[in-house]
């Protein structure tokens, strides 16, 4: 499709001036057309450049494309007709005080004052305790009751508030309100010393350390024209797959626990730890913190490490397979997983779901296949899509990906891997530049975008965790589902609170 947007590669640095500067109406119409034709939103955010407030949109079809425009103070909301913009428009309203008129549900995302001291779009007073001080969506009627959960949950998990409107056991609507973990990560990227950039990226979401840190590292590598060596690409690919393995296996164990089938819950709980330990084997940290840096990796994969990794994988692989069989062949498990919390392909497309949640609903998109980085150019990643969109499909996507990830790592460590380790030093960033990076972390598409000012300082750092797309998918899956199935559905998405809250 020919339009006014500029095609851009994943991780390609552009001079800011090269990004087409369109009229607001042109951006709006083009965005709506592209999404209507099946395109998706990768990034849509505002930034301030020398007094001007601008909007920038990065969309994807089979290509990535970008354009920018001046931001109006108020504008007719894209979300009125195009749901994938829903969260992005709320975020822009919260961060920059720009009101999307007619937005179907304009409420705060993370409970913080906007960056420009403009009147708050939501009418909040942030000197007061805001979280929870908000009129939740209510359903009226004699038999209706509400269940409020969080921010402090019963388990050892992150904080968030869930408000169920139920009739009997049946959930009519689930409202999810997050923001409790907001740490102002994006703004910290603008101010901290360069040596802290990787540390911040690693701590956006600890379970996606590699995914987020890769996005940051690739962005800086592109800006500073540094090329990691082949070995570094391989080690990063191994790390991203180890991260996927640990989390998928943990999720499958937790799903098993939630349907009270305890043996796989315990076995996978232990095996997940074994995969975390393999990450520690490589870099000294169970979550991969300290491994990925702009320019490469800080730890090599010498023959000792490689052989230990190979031996452990050989030991773990049959165990994983057997526990997978145990879980997926139990008729009681299938009876609970199947038809539970189905999200139709239509809804998933409308919401713009990504990652395993999207694939479970028939959206084959996988960054590793569609916009490959690192060593994925040389790997064959299957489509892995399912059709039912239920808990079973979301579990089955993980089943497939677990076996594939083990295979990928095995194939990558078959031959010696050599890399020159890098340290924490960074080259200066170029002035007035833009870069966007995407990677397929275990939850789906992670994206970072960076804009530098005329002095090469970071002017705007934008982070998008896949959970930003997918939380509304969880809410949809609960529609007309028994409230007792919430834990199972929640686990089948297993979304990030901190990655969302930033």
């Amino acid at each position: 499709m020919k339009n006014a947007f500029l095609n851009v590669l994943n991780g390609e640095t552009l001079d800011l001036e090269r990004i087409p500067h369109l009229s607001f109406n042109n951006i709006r119409n083009t965005c709506l057309d592209i999404i209507k034709a099946g395109g998706k939103v990768v990034q849509f955010f505002a930034y301030e450049n020398e007094e001007d407030i601008k909007l920038i949109a990065v969309l994807r079809t089979d290509k990535l494309m970008v354009a920018t425009c001046y931001a109006p103070d108020t504008y007719p909301a894209f979300s009125k007709t195009s749901e994938p913009f829903h969260m992005f428009e709320r975020e822009i309203a919260e961060q920059f005080g720009i009101r999307p008129q007619g937005h179907p549900w304009l409420k705060m995302v993370r409970y913080h004052p906007n960056y420009r001291n403009r009147p708050d779009v939501f009418g909040n007073d942030y000197t007061q305790d805001i979280p929870g001080n908000y009129d939740y969506y209510q359903v009226a009627g004699d038999e209706i009751h509400e269940v409020a959960v969080g921010p402090v949950h019963a388990g050892v998990i992150e904080p968030g508030h869930f408000r169920f409107n139920c009739i009997g056991e049946r959930v009519l609507h689930l409202e999810i309100q997050l923001g409790y973990q907001h740490r102002a990560v994006e703004n910290m990227f603008h101010d901290v010393a360069a040596k802290r950039l990787p540390i911040l990226a690693e701590n956006i979401a600890g379970d996606t350390t590699i995914g987020h840190c890769l996005c940051m590292a690739q962005a800086i590598e592109s800006l500073t024209q540094v090329q990691p060596d082949k070995g570094a690409h391989i080690i990063r690919t191994i790390a991203l797959e180890l991260e996927r393995l640990a989390n998928h296996i943990g999720d499958l164990g937790a799903l098993s626990g939630d349907v009270a089938f305890l043996p796989p819950a315990n076995y996978f709980g232990r095996i997940r730890g074994d995969f975390l330990n393999l990450m520690l084997l490589i870099c000294g940290n169970r979550f991969g913190k300290g491994l990925v840096r702009p320019g490469g990796v800080r730890f090599d994969l010498n023959d000792d490490v490689r052989k230990t990794l190979d031996n452990r994988l050989k030991e773990l692989k049959p165990q994983v397979k057997h526990v997978l069989d145990l879980l997926f062949s139990a008729s009681t498990v299938r009876a609970r997983f199947e038809d539970c919390g189905a999200v139709s392909n239509y809804d998933a497309e409308q919401l713009g779901l990504v990652g395993p949640a999207g694939r479970a609903s028939g959206i084959p998109y996988d960054v590793r296949r569609c916009f490959p980085t690192e060593h994925y150019l040389h790997l064959n990643i299957p489509e892995n899509k399912k059709t039912a969109g239920d808990v079973y499909s979301r579990a089955k996507v993980r089943y497939d990906e677990v076996l594939q990830s083990i295979h990928i790592i095995e194939s990558l460590i078959a031959l010696p891997v050599e890399t020159a380790c890098v340290d924490n030093t960074l080259n200066p960033l170029p002035p007035s530049s833009f870069v966007v990076t995407i990677n397929e972390a275990w939850r789906g598409e992670v994206s970072h975008a960076m804009i530098t000012d005329k002095n090469g300082k970071i002017l705007r750092y934008k982070v998008k965790d896949p959970s930003f797309h997918n939380w509304n998918g969880l809410a949809m899956s609960l529609r007309d589902t028994g409230i007792s199935d919430f834990p199972l559905n929640n686990k089948s998405f297993n979304l990030s609170y901190c990655g969302f809250d930033l």
Binding site: E158, P159, R183, I204, I282, K289
Partner: protein, 247 residues
């Protein structure tokens, strides 16, 4: 049924024998740092300048394990001449100033509160509050319930309600939006109660130091009894801290 049994046999017995035996941890693990005090001043300066957490005090030649995220940058650039990270995971302290160290930590058992041992030595029920952070600390607390660590065999459990608990385990840098929920949870715990701070975020703000949205140190708002450093602390670090402090 047959598959279930076959799997059970294959899995075998997996629980570690800690504290009788220390489980082996891979050699790249970075535990308790040891400082070489006679390192050349320029090496010490270079380490301090490169430390992303500004955890190195060049004049006292000490590391603040509360700020440190154990990334190993100082070890890498000094090639071990100034700082060396050992495989010792037993690094929790009972006082915040003990976290600032040259590598030799006061014995935790000697600094633990003796009346806690009488009260909680046989049964300790804890409520966890995740207050910001990145979820890695929560994840490595959760694994204490898996068969390898099996925390429950020591009479220590994480429970669902603060009313049923003897104390709280806090993770994260106490974001502004979680502060009230945290304090309310603390208030809901019956006296006498214990406060355990887990991870560099909770101890000092960690990677988020400088953010206007966080609290730099849980001890500035609650009386902390036990400080567990790390980013995140290794599960064995948590296990050691709980067993040594309360048993």
């Amino acid at each position: 049924m047959f598959t279930t049994l076959k799997n059970r046999f294959e899995q075998g017995y997996r629980t570690c024998n800690y504290p009788q035996e220390k489980p082996a941890v891979f050699s790249r693990y970075r535990g308790r740092p040891i400082v070489q005090k006679d390192a050349p001043p320029e090496v010490i300066q270079a380490c301090a300048a490169a430390c992303p957490q500004e955890a190195i005090d060049t004049s006292a030649k000490k590391i603040d394990m509360g700020r440190c995220i154990f990334c190993g940058t100082c070890e890498q650039i000094s090639q071990g001449r100034f700082v060396r990270f050992t495989g010792d995971f037993e690094i929790a302290t009972a006082q915040k100033d003990h976290l600032i160290t040259d590598g030799y930590l006061p014995a935790l058992a000697e600094h633990s509160k003796q009346h806690f041992k009488g009260l909680f030595g046989k049964s300790l029920q804890l409520r966890q509050v995740s207050a910001g952070g990145c979820n890695a600390c929560e994840a490595d607390l959760n694994v204490l319930a898996t068969p390898f660590f099996d925390l429950a065999r020591f009479g220590i459990n994480f429970v669902a309600s603060p009313r049923h608990s003897d104390g709280i385990v806090v993770t994260g840098p106490v974001s502004r939006n979680m502060r009230t929920a945290l304090l309310k949870t603390y208030e809901a715990i019956p006296e006498p109660k214990v406060v355990i701070a887990v991870g560099s975020c909770t101890l000092t703000g960690g990677p988020f130091v400088g953010s206007p949205e966080i609290t730099e140190g849980l001890d500035t708002i609650l009386p902390v009894d036990l400080f567990i450093p790390g980013c995140p602390p290794h599960p064995l670090t948590n296990l050691h801290a709980l067993l040594t402090f309360f048993k």
